[in-house]
């Protein structure tokens, strides 16, 4: 099950991240997890949000450039070698990972990671066939 990630363009200058988060807070949007990729000049804030359509509209209204991308949320055993197992499957299938980052919470000895694959559909098929839990329900990872 692919989930939607929102990416927001940020200039690399003070206050940019705060401005984006302020928009989310004002609209009562909870950010499930996020990652920030940055270069000397700009940053890309990637967000996983339950109600992504509403969040996208709010960011756009506030003047941000927003892009919606399909990513996979994959459950990983929270133990040594847990991630390695996933990466071995990915490697064997010749899948290309553009980037990845972790969810902030774990549950029941499991962690979850966000993977941005070049081809998310192919990745989903391969991982499911290998018995990897590709998460469908973000509710699991929301703060209790």
């Amino acid at each position: 099950m692919k989930i939607h990630q929102l990416s927001v363009f940020l200039e690399n200058k003070p206050g940019q991240l705060r401005a984006a988060c302020a928009e989310a807070a004002r609209a009562g949007i909870n950010i499930v997890t996020l990652s920030l990729a940055d270069t000397e000049q700009f940053g890309i804030l990637r967000l996983i949000i339950q109600d992504w359509q509403k969040a996208k509209a709010i960011f756009e209204k506030a003047g941000f450039v927003v892009k919606d991308t399909e990513v996979l949320a994959i459950e990983v055993a929270d133990e040594p070698g847990g991630l390695l197992r996933i990466l071995e499957i990915v490697d064997q299938a010749g899948l290309n990972i553009e980037y990845m980052y972790a969810f902030t919470e774990r549950r029941g000895g499991k962690a979850a990671l966000v993977f941005r694959f070049e081809d998310p559909d192919a990745a989903q098929q391969v991982l499911k066939a290998a018995g990897v839990n590709v998460l469908r329900d973000l509710e699991l990872f929301r703060r209790a």
Partner: protein, 437 residues
């Protein structure tokens, strides 16, 4: 200056006003006839005004003639304004046009001789002569600066070092080791050489260098004072543009108060920028030039877009050629960076080529360590935005490359958030010039 110090090549600089006027009229009539006979666009414009070459009976009659503008060169690209058969053209130069296509200028053998003459007269006015060692740091190539200065200095009998532009350390080594007495480059590049020289422990005041012939970009009295104080040379302003001939249209003399226009080859007018009516001497307006002897590509009333005023007062140096005040600004949105003319429309063409639609942008000019820097700030649009860093970095690379292809200079691109570049009422302010000229 007494005549004993005059170089023979400078003789026309001192011709009596009446003789100058006669030469100008004779040449104007010949060039108008030549352009009428051989340049279709010019003939059409003459016909629209029911004008014939024989209607030019006095120098004031130049005012009847149609103007020529830069876009005429683009519209007739590449050879449409040539009045000579290409077989008689021995040289082509080119400079960037306003929207990406270069403009081409041609020279016959006679034209090269005239150019050489005015450049030799320019160097002579700056006090150079045989025995001087001239480091020519103008770029050699399609740009007219390098070869123009080269031929002129050689004709004067000076020793020319054709080092061309760039490679600052080598420039300083040559300056120091070759006994260089004069240098040609842009004034900002010379300031850069001074600063880099200081870092390398080279004190220009200890070198035999005594003159700098600086042009291809506007500069100020403040820059001159800095250059002269830090290097103990005399810094001369030279003016020219490739559409007319290249460098050598006008030059400062030892008085350093205005540039003498080589009026026997270039007829100068200053016109009101709005009405295009000619203004009397002393009043500021747009400089309009007519080439009086150019064979391959006569330019009739070419609007330079440079703002200046003509000075009719006689000069203590004795030259009878009128002077023009140093160029202070432009009447269009062109700016000059590292000696290269750039129009915002070229940047637009470059952005459009990469992105498909024109993003909001702004050009910021700064001067760091005396070198001009240009940053183009481009607002990110949903069409080009990506969640991947490498896609945006690739976009930056493409934009840099596209601008370099069109303008010939490498600039920095900064991607900025939407709506962060100020919008202005009416015409957008595309260029923010923070350089302290």
């Amino acid at each position: 200056m007494n005549s004993a110090e005059r170089h023979p090549v400078s003789a026309p600089d001192f011709m009596p006003a009446s003789a100058l006027g006669e030469t100008q009229l004779r040449r104007l009539q010949a060039i108008v006839t030549r352009a009428y006979d051989h340049v279709k666009l010019f003939r059409q414009r003459m016909e629209e005004r029911s004008l014939k070459p024989r209607d030019i009976r006095s120098l004031d009659d130049v005012r009847k003639l149609p103007f020529t503008v830069k876009t005429d060169l683009r519209d007739t690209y590449p050879y449409g304004l040539f009045a000579s058969d290409l077989r008689d053209v021995v040289r082509l130069h080119a400079s960037s046009g306003t929207t990406g296509k270069p403009i081409v200028v041609g020279y016959t053998r006679e034209d090269i001789a005239v150019w050489t003459e005015v450049m030799a007269r320019s160097f002579a006015a700056c006090g150079l002569h045989a025995g001087d060692i001239v480091q020519n740091a103008y770029g050699y190539g399609l740009f007219t600066g390098g070869l123009g200065a080269h031929y002129g200095a050689e004709a004067l009998g000076a020793t020319v070092i054709p080092i061309s532009g760039g490679n600052t350390e080598r420039q300083i080594t040559v300056l120091k080791d070759f006994g260089v007495t004069a240098i040609c480059c842009t004034p900002s590049y010379f300031l850069h050489l001074l600063d880099q020289g200081a870092l390398l422990g080279v004190d220009f005041r200890q070198l035999p260098l005594r003159a700098g012939v600086f042009g291809a970009e506007p500069w100020t009295q403040g820059m001159r004072e800095r250059i002269e104080a830090q290097s103990r040379i005399k810094a001369y302003d030279i003016y020219g543009l490739s559409e007319i001939i290249g460098p050598g249209v006008a030059i400062e003399c030892a008085c350093q108060n205005g540039l003498h226009v080589f009026e026997d080859h270039f007829l100068a007018e200053v016109v009101d920028t709005k009405t295009l009516e000619p203004l009397p001497d002393g009043e500021e307006g747009e400089l309009v030039l007519t080439t009086l002897s150019k064979q391959a590509m006569p330019m009739i009333r070419y609007r330079t877009r440079d703002i200046t005023a003509l000075m009719a007062e006689s000069c203590p140096c004795g030259r009878t050629l009128r002077r023009m005040r140093r160029i202070s600004r432009r009447s269009d949105d062109m700016f000059i960076i590292r000696g290269v003319n750039v129009f915002p429309s070229q940047i637009e063409a470059a952005l459009l080529r990469v992105e498909g639609t024109l993003p909001h942008y702004q050009i910021v000019l700064t001067r760091e360590a005396d070198l001009d820097q240009m940053e183009v700030q481009v607002e990110v649009t949903p069409e080009v935005f990506s969640d991947e860093v490498r896609v945006l970095e690739e976009l930056q690379r493409k934009l840099v490359h596209s601008i370099e292809t069109i303008t010939g200079i490498r600039v920095a691109i900064r991607l900025v958030a939407p709506k962060t570049i100020p919008r202005s009422e009416g015409k957008a302010k595309r260029v923010i010039d923070k350089r302290q000229l």
